[in-house]
């Protein structure tokens, strides 16, 4: 405002109104959304994608610098068959509905899934009784293909498992996929269909207003008619901002080993142990990328952001995993990680409109089998929205398909040659361990919900997940990010905004 303003009464009021408007605009607060989804994990991203079929202005909000940064990137990556949850619960209902929905979704979003089946193994009569119980539960939950098999048959199918195994529950519909790949694909597809993704926005307060909710984050204000709470371990905090019907979420940490691809075929099925007191026991499970996961343990903690691994936890996992297979090759570890389950005080998924906060929908306590239930949960939330709103108008131009993700390593020789001819950047291998090319990295940076960080590139295209853990490709990935995002390489971060990699140039006076 560089113009001279006449100082008379009229001008005075105009000037002040302009100031107020400018101040308000600067606060970013004028945009009114139909739906604001808090939390861009697999649940929030799924709901965003499903709602983007309709004429709605949608904001997908997350406190972190990328989507899928919470439990959605740090879990067992399993699509459970669905026998485990107690019949009649939300968990049972949504798991059994959700599991078969994955094939279509993964096809549309170009996400790899493999139904490798699972065993729950038992070592004695007590375990076999538990297994019988799970089988019956599975029947009640309408799970198909369940079978109880004896120890010898188990070992025939999985020779690396221990002699001590008496028998197992076999579930052929159990599958594996990459949970962060799914979440990213959902977010990308949602954004392709008009959803606005607002990262680095931590919700500090929500105020109920007449026509809408005012979400106040650390960066701005967001007004929205409806709010959907998918905030993971923080869902209780968010709920308690608007509703008196509170629930409590206790973070329950689970740590994992990731083993080298050379031992990825140690087992071909998901190996569960008979349910112990807490959680589902220690699992040995192949990943969709060819690695092996061993874990998790279960430890209730206080801090909602403590994802550190611990020597004790990792030792425990080794010990317990060896009950399934004494030779489980934990020495071939390439990295370890931990995730926080959202253990809710009600003991079951909390999905529904808050009774004392119209238009505020909770989707909370989504711990295992959360991932497996996600497609059904998203569908259900859309139904809730339809109920509350009366109707939702479908878009003509909704595109359910994500643009195909190029995986150079998986192409045939001819396809590789053609691709390099079209774009020579596909001829430059950046990640030697996983054979990832520059072309793939450039592609996933430039998509909607694309990578802006080194970890973001890692999760979308895989450099940094191999045995060198980014030692070779790290500087090259940072260079490509800097170039594509038009930044100096020292501005590139690993994950969240404070995770700088380089501190500055060595030459002074630059």
């Amino acid at each position: 405002m560089g113009r001279c303003i006449e100082v008379d009464l009229c001008g005075f009021f105009i000037a002040n109104s302009l100031l107020v408007v400018i101040w308000y605009l600067q606060k970013g607060g004028v945009c009114m959304y139909d739906v604001a989804i808090i939390g861009a994990g697999v649940i929030g991203a799924f709901i965003a994608r499903e709602l983007s079929r309709y004429e709605l202005k949608i904001a997908l909000i997350d406190k972190d610098n990328d989507v899928s940064n919470g439990a959605s990137k740090a879990n067992s990556a399993i699509i459970h068959a669905g026998y485990d949850a107690k019949p009649g619960t939300n968990m049972a209902k949504f798991n059994s509905l959700g599991n078969p929905m994955f094939d279509k979704i993964c096809q549309e979003l170009d996400v790899e899934i493999d139904r490798i089946g699972s065993f729950v193994i038992g070592f004695d009569d007590a375990d076999m009784e538990t297994i019988e119980g799970l089988y019956k539960r599975g029947i009640e939950n309408s799970i198909e293909g369940l079978e109880i098999i004896d120890g010898d048959k188990v070992r025939e199918m999985e020779p690396n498992l221990n002699d001590t195994i008496k028998g197992a529950l076999y579930a052929p519909t159990c599958g594996i996929l990459s949970p962060w790949e799914l979440t990213i694909a959902l977010a990308e597809n949602a954004a392709d269909n008009g959803v606005e993704i607002l990262l680095n926005n931590e919700v500090e307060d929500i105020k109920k207003r007449d026509l809408a909710y005012k979400i106040i984050t650390n960066k701005r204000e967001i007004d929205s008619k409806y709010v959907i709470n998918c905030a993971g371990v923080y869902a209780d905090k968010i709920n308690n901002m608007v509703s008196n019907e509170s629930f409590e979420i206790t973070p329950r940490k689970g740590q994992y080993f990731v083993l080298d691809k050379s031992v990825g075929d140690f087992v071909d099925t998901v190996i569960f142990q008979c349910p112990l007191n807490v959680g589902k026991g220690v699992i040995i499970v192949p990943t969709i990328h060819g690695n092996l996961l061993v874990g998790p343990d279960a430890e209730d903690i206080e801090e909602k952001d403590n994802t550190a691994t611990s020597a004790e936890g990792l030792e425990y996992i080794k010990e317990v995993a060896r009950r399934s297979a004494a030779t489980v090759p934990v020495n071939k570890v390439i990295t370890t990680y931990s995730g926080l389950r959202a253990e809710v005080s009600t003991g079951d998924f909390v999905i529904g409109e808050a009774r004392d906060a119209k238009g505020f929908i909770n989707v909370a306590g989504i711990k295992s089998p959360g991932l497996s239930s996600s497609p059904a949960i998203a569908e259900y939330v859309v139904d809730i929205m339809k109920d509350i709103r009366g109707e939702l108008i479908e878009k003509d131009k909704f595109n359910p398909r994500r643009r195909r993700v190029l995986r150079f390593d998986k192409l045939s020789d001819e396809e590789k040659t053609d691709l390099i001819k079209k774009d020579p950047r596909f001829g430059r291998i950046i990640c030697r361990c996983e054979s990832v090319t520059e072309g793939e990295i450039v592609d996933i940076i430039n998509r909607n919900a694309g990578a802006t960080t080194v970890d973001g590139v890692k999760r979308r295209a895989r450099p940094g997940t191999g045995r060198c853990q980014g030692g070779f490709c790290g500087p090259r990935v940072a260079e490509i990010l800097a170039r594509e995002l038009n930044k100096d390489i020292a501005e590139i971060v690993k994950d969240n905004e404070g995770s700088y990699i380089l501190t500055g140039k060595t030459s002074k006076g630059e």
Partner: protein, 420 residues
């Protein structure tokens, strides 16, 4: 594409092999290099200490590399840059990819593997804690500083007293960072003793032997590490924990020969060295495939890498031009007490000139010792030594006459303490 000899990796090993092969009268040679220039890791090793044996001069890494690159250019040896080999088949067909040629399949009469090694990671040694930024392997940090010109941190802690860690301690200090200390799991340092002086003592950087990191702290960027003393079994001693605030952690915890391609070609690997089993000619278990340099076993001095490269190059040329005669007598080498590994693992007497040099490392620090070389039960050579440490590779030269005469097939090298 057809070549007589294809060399995979244009670092010091591959360069020496290429030059020697060309000098041995093979013309049709190709070097395949994945980086943007030849020279390998030497290009980022800007410190000196290279070439004292090879050139009788003290050179920096880039200077040493340039001497060989010049020869490659003078001899007009063909090379491809920015080219990654994806696979080697058992019948010596190499699949590689680059931006210009796309996907290429190269047929080779003989292959020389010189892919070098990679660094051991935090994940592989399993340090618990958070996973923040600011954790680098020493070589990656070296690349950022020396090739890109960027600093990696201000307050640095280093784990591992191998040469790379020591060199980086000095480099970082000279560039204005504060190096808080170097921790070493073992009770002795893994690097050259000269580096302890010129990298640590010179800058008053403490060396903490028998220590390890038991926890990493920090959410987005590393904030500190918890250090603990360890006992003789390398287990943390409770009560000795000490917290160090830092914004950077450098890991210099070991090098691993990079043998993915050796596996794709189904070569037999030595599970102690991590590299392919080789014979006196640096030939692997597959006829016509040779290997040299850090891909076979991790070296301390590049001069010996060049020597090994020359041996591989000379013999690859011999293989292409004449072939090797069937071996009447093959001696296996075996590491005895006190010796961790020996290269080569096999010796075919017919292919020796007048001697064989064995390369080996001890499994611990020894002083006032004797190295015994035995053929069967008979001691054929005794070498007195003042000290022997795992961090310094030992060479033992054996005259061919000592190997003839008996029908024994196993050569054992072991350590005997004086007075035993």
């Amino acid at each position: 594409m057809d070549y007589d000899i294809v060399i995979i990796g244009g670092g010091p090993a591959g360069l020496a092999a290429a030059v020697e092969a060309k000098k041995s009268r093979v013309d049709n040679i190709l070097i395949i290099e994945r980086d943007r220039e030849l020279g390998g890791i030497l290009q980022q090793c800007i410190h000196n200490g290279f070439g004292l044996h090879e050139f009788k001069e003290e050179l920096t890494g880039p200077e040493y590399a340039e001497r060989f690159i010049d020869q490659v250019k003078e001899l007009q040896i063909e090379y491809k840059l920015d080219t990654m080999v994806l696979n080697i088949s058992e019948d010596k067909i190499i699949s590689a990819v680059n931006s210009e040629d796309g996907l290429i399949n190269i047929k080779a009469k003989s292959i020389i593997l010189s892919m070098g090694c990679r660094e051991r990671t935090r994940g592989a040694i399993n340090i618990p804690g958070t996973r923040p930024s600011g954790i680098f392997t020493a070589g990656t940090a070296q690349r950022y500083i020396n090739m890109e010109g960027y600093m990696v941190g201000k307050k640095i802690f280093i784990l591992g007293s191998g040469d790379i860690g020591l060199i980086m301690a000095r480099r970082l200090t000279l560039e204005g960072a504060q190096v808080m200390g170097v921790a070493e799991l073992l009770p002795y340092s893994g690097g050259l003793t000269r580096n302890i002086t010129q990298c640590l003592h010179d800058y008053n950087i403490p060396l903490l032997l028998s220590h390890t990191i038991i926890r990493i702290d920090g959410r987005d960027r590393i904030q500190g590490i918890e250090l603990s003393e360890v006992d003789e079994n390398r287990r943390p001693i409770p009560g000795t924990e000490k917290y160090y605030e830092c914004d950077t952690l450098l890991l210099s915890v070991g090098l691993i020969p990079e043998n993915e391609l050796s596996k794709s070609a189904n070569l037999k690997l030595d599970n102690i060295t991590g590299g392919p089993i080789v014979n006196e000619s640096m030939e692997t278990s597959r006829e016509g495939i040779f290997a040299c340099g850090n891909v076979v076993h991790v070296h301390d001095l590049v001069d010996y890498v060049s020597e090994e490269g020359r041996r591989a190059g000379k013999n690859a040329a011999k293989y292409v031009l004449e072939g090797f005669s069937n071996s009447e007598r093959t001696i296996q080498t075996k590491s005895g007490k006190g010796i961790r590994y020996i290269v080569p693992q096999q010796i075919r007497l017919e292919n020796l000139d007048n001697s064989i040099t064995l390369f080996m490392r001890s499994d611990d620090v020894y002083s006032d010792l004797i190295i015994n070389v035995k053929l069967g039960q008979e001691v054929i050579k005794r070498i007195k030594k003042r000290t022997l440490t795992p961090g310094e590779m030992e060479r033992v030269n054996i005259d061919i006459n000592l190997l003839k005469g008996t029908a024994r097939e196993t050569l054992v090298v072991e350590i005997e303490k004086e007075g035993q």
